[in-house]
C-alpha cells in the first residue's frame, strides 16, 4: 500500500484551501425539482423536503382539477422512502406478501396477486395530510410548512379487508379494538406503524389502483391499506403486516406525532392548546389524527385574481369524514356578517369532496370572500382556525378567505 506522504498531504490540503478561496461561484446550488425527485410528477410541485420526500400541490393546480387529482399533481407526504419507489409508475405485485395476524382465530399470509381474484370495490375519497393548512396557524408550528395543497380527491380500487377476512373464514377476537398496519421495511427503511379504531374495518380497502391506473409506487404501490374518511397518515403505504390489536400501537407515529390535545373521556371536538406552548402528550389527554375534519376550499376566484363583475361565480369543494352528508356551504362577502347559501353538487354521504358554487353580486374593487361548510351532524368550521392551535399544527379547518379584484 502506497501511502501519500506528509508533504503530499499538505500539498493536497493547501490546494483545497486555495480552491476554496478562489472558487465559491457555485455555492448556491440548484435545488432539485419535484420531477427530478419523483419520476412522473409535475415539476411545479413544491418541494417541502427531499428526504423523506414531501411535495405540495400548488393551489392553482389543485383548483384547476376540481374533479379528480391526477397522480402527476397529487401531493406526497412520505415518512419513509422505499429505495427505488420514487416514481408514479406502478410496481409489480409479484412476490409482495402481507401478513394478517394479532387477535384473529387464524392468522394468515396472502400474496398481493391473490387479491385480483376477489371482488373489487371502488371508493372516491379525499386524501389529506393532517398537517395541511399548518402554515396558517400562528405562531408557527413545527413541521413541513403546508399551505393548502396537502390534499387531493382520488379514486382507489381494491379489495375490502373485511371481504378478504370472510373469504378466508377468519374471525376477529373479542378484544380486537384496533387495526394496526405496518409499512414495508425493505431497503432498511425505518419503522412506520399506525393504528385506527376497529370501526374503520367497515370501509377499509386493500387498494391496488388509483384513478384507474396501477397504484403509483410513490403513493404506496403495490398494496396500500386505505381507510376512507381518515387522514392520510392512517392509510399505510406498502403495507406488509396487518394486526388486530387491543390497544393503539406505541411507536412514535402514533404518539406523540399525529395527535391533537383532547380532554380525556369527552367528545369535545378539540381542546384548545394555548398557542405557542408545549403540551404533555399522552395516550389519555390527546387523540390521534383519525377522522378527516370538516373543511371547505375556494377554487375560484383564486387569491389575487381579477374577475369580471358585478356577478361573480364563487366555486369550491367541501368534505368531511363521510359519516354524514355535507348539508350546506355558505359564502360571505362581508367578513362573515351575512352568508349566502351555495348550491351543492350532491347531498349524499361521501368520502370524496363535494363541489359547490354560488353567484354573488360584487361592485368593482378589492373584495374578499369566505366559505364555510356544515354537515348533518351540525359540525362546521371555525371562523378563526387558530382556536384549534396545536404545536404540531394538525387538522387546520378554519374558514378560508380569498382576496381578489372585481373589474
Amino acid at each position: 500500500m502506497e501511502k501519500v506522504n506528509r508533504r503530499t498531504t499538505l500539498k493536497l490540503m493547501g490546494m483545497g484551501a486555495a480552491l476554496l478561496v478562489t472558487g465559491g461561484r457555485s455555492l448556491a446550488q440548484q435545488a432539485p425539482t419535484a420531477d427530478q425527485l419523483v419520476k412522473g410528477k409535475n415539476p411545479k410541485l413544491i418541494v417541502l423536503s427531499q428526504r423523506p420526500i414531501v411535495l405540495e400541490t400548488p393551489y392553482d393546480l389543485l383548483a384547476s382539477n376540481p374533479e379528480r387529482t391526477s397522480k402527476e399533481i397529487l401531493y406526497i407526504r412520505n415518512n419513509v422512502d422505499l429505495p427505488g419507489y420514487n416514481t408514479v409508475e406502478g410496481t409489480s405485485l409479484d412476490g409482495w406478501q402481507v401478513e394478517v395476524g394479532g387477535l384473529v382465530d387464524k392468522p394468515f399470509t396472502f400474496e398481493a396477486k391473490e387479491l385480483l381474484s376477489l371482488p373489487q370495490h371502488e371508493v372516491t375519497m379525499v386524501l389529506q395530510c393532517s398537517g395541511n393548512g399548518r402554515s396558517l396557524y400562528q405562531p408557527r408550528t413545527s413541521g413541513n410548512p403546508w399551505k393548502r395543497g396537502g390534499v387531493g380527491n382520488v379514486t382507489f380500487r381494491g379489495i375490502r379487508l373485511k371481504d378478504l377476512l370472510s373469504a378466508r373464514g377468519v374471525k376477529l377476537g373479542d378484544k380486537a379494538y384496533f387495526i394496526t398496519a405496518h409499512a414495508s421495511r425493505q431497503g432498511n427503511a425505518p419503522e412506520f406503524v399506525r393504528s385506527v379504531p376497529i370501526q374503520a374495518l367497515e370501509n377499509a380497502l386493500l387498494a391496488l389502483s388509483m384513478n384507474g391506473e396501477p397504484l403509483p409506487a410513490v403513493h404506496g404501490g403495490p398494496v396500500r391499506l386505505v381507510f376512507p374518511g381518515y387522514f392520510e397518515v392512517n392509510n399505510v403505504k406498502w403495507v406488509e403486516k396487518i394486526e388486530f390489536t387491543e390497544a393503539e400501537n406505541t411507536t412514535a407515529e402514533q404518539m406523540p406525532r399525529y395527535r391533537v390535545p383532547a380532554i380525556p373521556n369527552t367528545h369535545l371536538p378539540f381542546l384548545p392548546q394555548e398557542p405557542g406552548k408545549t403540551y404533555p402528550y399522552g395516550f389519555q389527554n390527546s387523540r390521534p389524527n383519525w377522522l378527516v375534519t370538516l373543511n371547505s376550499f375556494i377554487f375560484a376566484p383564486l387569491e389575487g385574481q381579477t374577475v369580471e363583475g358585478p356577478y361573480v361565480r364563487i366555486e369550491g369543494v367541501a368534505f368531511n369524514d363521510g359519516i354524514v352528508p355535507i348539508v350546506s356551504v355558505e359564502v360571505s362577502t362581508n367578513g362573515g356578517r351575512t352568508w349566502h347559501q351555495a348550491e351543492l353538487e350532491r347531498k349524499e354521504k361521501s368520502f370524496g369532496w363535494v363541489r359547490w358554487r354560488a353567484t354573488v353580486y360584487l361592485r368593482p374593487g378589492e373584495r374578499e370572500v369566505m366559505a364555510r361548510a356544515w354537515d348533518a351532524a351540525g359540525r362546521s368550521q371555525p371562523i378563526d382556525g387558530n382556536i384549534a392551535w396545536n404545536e404540531r399544527g394538525y387538522e387546520y379547518s378554519g374558514v378560508m378567505r380569498v382576496k381578489f379584484t372585481v373589474a
Partner: protein, 229 residues
C-alpha cells in the same frame, strides 16, 4: 496594488457565496452547527430543520421526540444542539452569523462525516463503514474515484459489503456543501491513503457531477456495477 484588490474580491466572493449558501441550504454559522448537521441530516433534508423557528421549549420537546425515535446523543451534545437551535432557529431574530474569517480546511469539513464514520474514519459497524483504509482501496479500484464523489454528493442507500462485513445504513447526500468544500473533504479522505499519481479532486469536478442529480439508490446501483472493494 493588485494583491489587495484580489483579496477584496476574494472576500467579497466568499461572503456572497456564504450568504447564498446560508440562505438556501444550510444553517447559520454558530457554535454547535456541525453537531446539528451531523445529528439531523441522516434522516432529514436539512432545509426541514433550517426553516423552523421555534421557542427553546418547543425545540426541547422536538429533541425528546427525536430521542424517542432513536437519535443517539449524549446529554452534553443535546445541550449544545438545543442551545444552537434555540439561538439561531428560535423565535427571536438570530444573531448575525459568525464571520467565516479563514478558509475552511478539509478537516473542518470532515466534521460533517465524523458523527457516523468516527473522528479518525474508523467507522461504526454495522451501519457505518470505515473510511480509513477503505477509501484508499476505493481510489485504487477502477471507477472508485468517481464513485466516491457520487456517494459523498448524492448519498448511498442499501446494503454493501466491505471486507466481509455487511453495512446497511443510510447515508445522506451532502449536496448542500459547496463544490469547494466537497473537494476539500474528498482530498482530506484521500490524504489518509491514495494510489500513486492520485489527482486531487477539484471543485469543477464536483460541479460536473452535480449536473446529473442521482438518488442514493442509484448510487448503490452504480456501485454494484463497478469492481469495487
Amino acid at each position: 496594488m493588485k494583491k489587495p484588490y484580489l483579496l477584496t474580491l476574494a472576500v467579497f466572493g466568499l461572503s456572497l457565496a456564504g450568504y447564498l449558501a446560508l440562505s438556501q441550504y444550510t444553517l447559520p454559522e454558530g457554535p454547535g452547527k456541525d453537531l446539528v448537521l451531523a445529528k439531523c441530516q441522516t434522516c432529514h433534508d436539512i432545509g426541514f430543520v433550517a426553516r423552523e423557528s421555534l421557542s427553546r421549549e418547543r425545540w426541547d420537546a422536538i429533541l425528546s421526540e427525536m430521542v424517542m425515535r432513536g437519535l443517539q446523543v449524549t446529554p452534553e451534545e443535546r445541550a449544545v444542539i438545543l442551545d444552537y437551535l434555540a439561538t439561531y432557529l428560535g423565535t427571536e431574530p438570530s444573531p448575525a452569523p459568525a464571520q467565516i474569517a479563514s478558509p475552511k480546511t478539509g478537516a473542518q469539513v470532515y466534521a460533517n462525516c465524523q458523527g457516523c464514520h468516527g473522528p479518525q474514519g474508523e467507522g461504526n459497524p454495522p451501519a457505518f463503514p470505515p473510511l480509513k483504509g477503505h477509501v484508499e482501496n476505493l481510489l485504487k479500484a477502477r471507477g472508485g474515484r468517481e464513485y466516491l464523489l457520487l456517494a459523498v454528493l448524492h448519498g448511498l442507500q442499501g446494503e454493501i459489503q466491505i471486507s466481509g462485513q455487511k453495512y446497511a445504513g443510510v447515508m445522506p447526500g451532502f449536496a448542500w456543501l459547496s463544490d469547494e468544500e466537497l473537494a476539500l473533504v474528498l482530498n482530506y479522505l484521500a490524504a489518509w491513503g491514495a494510489p500513486q499519481g492520485f489527482k486531487p479532486f477539484t471543485p469543477d469536478e464536483v460541479e460536473a457531477a452535480r449536473a446529473k442529480p442521482l438518488g442514493p439508490e442509484e448510487v448503490l446501483k452504480i456501485r454494484k456495477e463497478l469492481p469495487l472493494p
